[in-house]
């Protein structure tokens, strides 16, 4: 793939630069938001509305309700920005924390309506209706975040990881299929796994 040392070093230099630009952008966005800059909400929406909406949709399974939740998440984030502490965690983790609460609020409102409409239901010990046959919110958040990050790995990393995860190929098989050196595949696998782990940690919150 890399035919000369020059290509490799150029590629690396570019990758480092892209990463640092991304990190700088994150930091800048966080500061703008914490500082009360309204335009930061637009940027946050562009970056994370798909995550928020998809998590809501997977959980609630109704596009209209998921859209309402998405709207309320960003409105709450803006109104509650004084409560965001950049030192306590990353902005997406905080945003997804709000998303979890909004989904929980949606369910409790729905449960109240259902209970009211059926007049009398024993509330003690009975499993909440929505929990039956539903993935936990933590599981949904993890999977959507991972799917998102997988899509951002770029190739050949994304292809390598999809073959490893979904086709259960070994690194030797992947190297053969993609015609890549073994060492390249191994290091891509390790770095990608590390990146997925880091992303999960950055978005995990203790509810």
């Amino acid at each position: 793939m890399h035919t000369s040392a020059n290509d490799v070093s150029t590629g690396r230099a570019r990758a480092t630069q892209v990463l640092s630009v991304k990190e700088t952008a994150d930091l800048e966005l966080t500061e703008r938001f914490a500082g009360g800059d309204e335009s930061a909400v637009r940027d946050m929406y562009e970056r994370w509305s798909s995550l928020v909406y998809t998590i809501a949709l997977r959980s609630i399974r109704n596009p209209d309700d998921a859209a309402d939740v998405t709207q309320s998440v960003f409105i709450s984030a803006w109104k509650g920005r004084a409560g965001f502490d950049p030192n306590a965690g990353a902005l997406p983790a905080w945003l997804l924390g709000i998303c979890r609460r909004k989904i929980a609020d949606f369910y409790s409102a729905k449960a109240r309506v259902e209970i009211a409409s059926t007049q009398a239901i024993e509330s003690d010990g009975s499993e909440p209706i929505h929990q039956v046959d539903t993935l936990s919110i933590d599981t949904i958040v993890d999977r959507v975040v991972l799917a998102d990050e997988l899509g951002r790995l770029g190739d050949p990393q994304q292809k390598i990881m999809e073959l490893a995860f979904f086709n259960d190929l070994t690194h030797i098989q992947i190297a053969s299929v993609l015609d890549l050196p073994l060492g390249t595949v191994k290091s891509h696998i390790r770095r990608s796994l590390d990146r997925l782990k880091t992303r999960l940690e950055a978005t995990s919150v203790t509810p």
């Binding site: 909400v41 929406y45 909406y53 859209a67 991972l146 995860f165 796994l193 997925l196 782990k197």
Partner: protein, 231 residues
């Protein structure tokens, strides 16, 4: 024994077969075992991804709804200082001093004995500070001349606790220029000696902003209380 190569740990986490020596090491090594457990959990979560988990964008009109709702938030109406304006205090002080504009020279003192019980203390101006958001109680500000120096008094008891801090500003009528007067103790209010030579008619607005510890010395554009000094 040396730790496992990180690439090898990643492969084992994905379920590839490992050498007996490597397995033995991992069993006896908290560090490698911990790393392996974490990556194994990531791999397990990733393998459970279904097509439905791939992020899809919300309907286009959602942003419009958010924007419309944000537009109605109380904060947007008073349009506090935005965009961020670089502080120009130094230039303004120099200007005011060079022109020789002194409050004393304007003859705008108002004597209100009830507010100036101290001998040698004269009320120069005062303002009610109206809440712009999140604050229930209005505040109050007054400028007194004490022994020839002007001092801004700020009373604001209803400010919410914050991870940042509150800063007191004097703003030009059109918010184009401003002077930072100091940091406000949210529980006690405060007294701020004003720079000699300041022209309060050029900076008649008292503004309390919520600032974050972000190293940015400019106004955050997040104003909490505001009022115009009646001079």
């Amino acid at each position: 024994m040396s730790h496992l190569d990180p690439d090898t740990i990643a492969l084992i986490a994905l379920g590839e077969s490992a050498l007996p020596d490597d397995i033995e090491h991992v069993r006896g090594c908290l560090l490698c075992q911990g790393e392996l457990d974490e990556l194994t959990a990531v791999a397990a979560s990733a393998r459970a991804i279904s097509p439905q988990d791939r992020p899809v964008a919300p309907p286009a009109q959602i942003w419009d709804r958010i924007e419309a709702e944000m537009g109605t938030t109380p904060r947007a109406i008073p349009a506090p200082v935005q965009p961020r304006v670089r502080r120009k205090s130094r230039a303004m002080f120099a200007l005011a001093a060079s022109v020789g504009v002194l409050i004393g020279g304007l003859g705008t003192y108002t004597m209100i004995s009830a507010d100036s019980v101290d001998s040698g203390s004269t009320l120069v101006a005062q303002a009610a500070l109206e809440p712009l958001r999140d604050v229930k109680e209005p505040g109050a500000a007054s400028v007194q001349q004490i022994d020839g120096r002007e001092v801004l008094n700020v009373q604001a008891s209803g400010l919410p606790a914050t991870n940042g801090f509150y800063e007191v500003w004097l703003l030009a009528p059109d918010s184009s220029n401003m002077i930072s007067v100091g940091m406000l103790d949210a529980t006690q209010g405060g007294q701020f000696p004003l720079p000699a030579g300041i022209d309060l008619t050029a900076f008649p607005i008292v503004d309390i902003s919520l600032e974050q510890f972000d190293g940015d010395v400019t106004h955050s554009a997040d104003s909490i209380l505001r009022g115009t000094l009646a001079i």
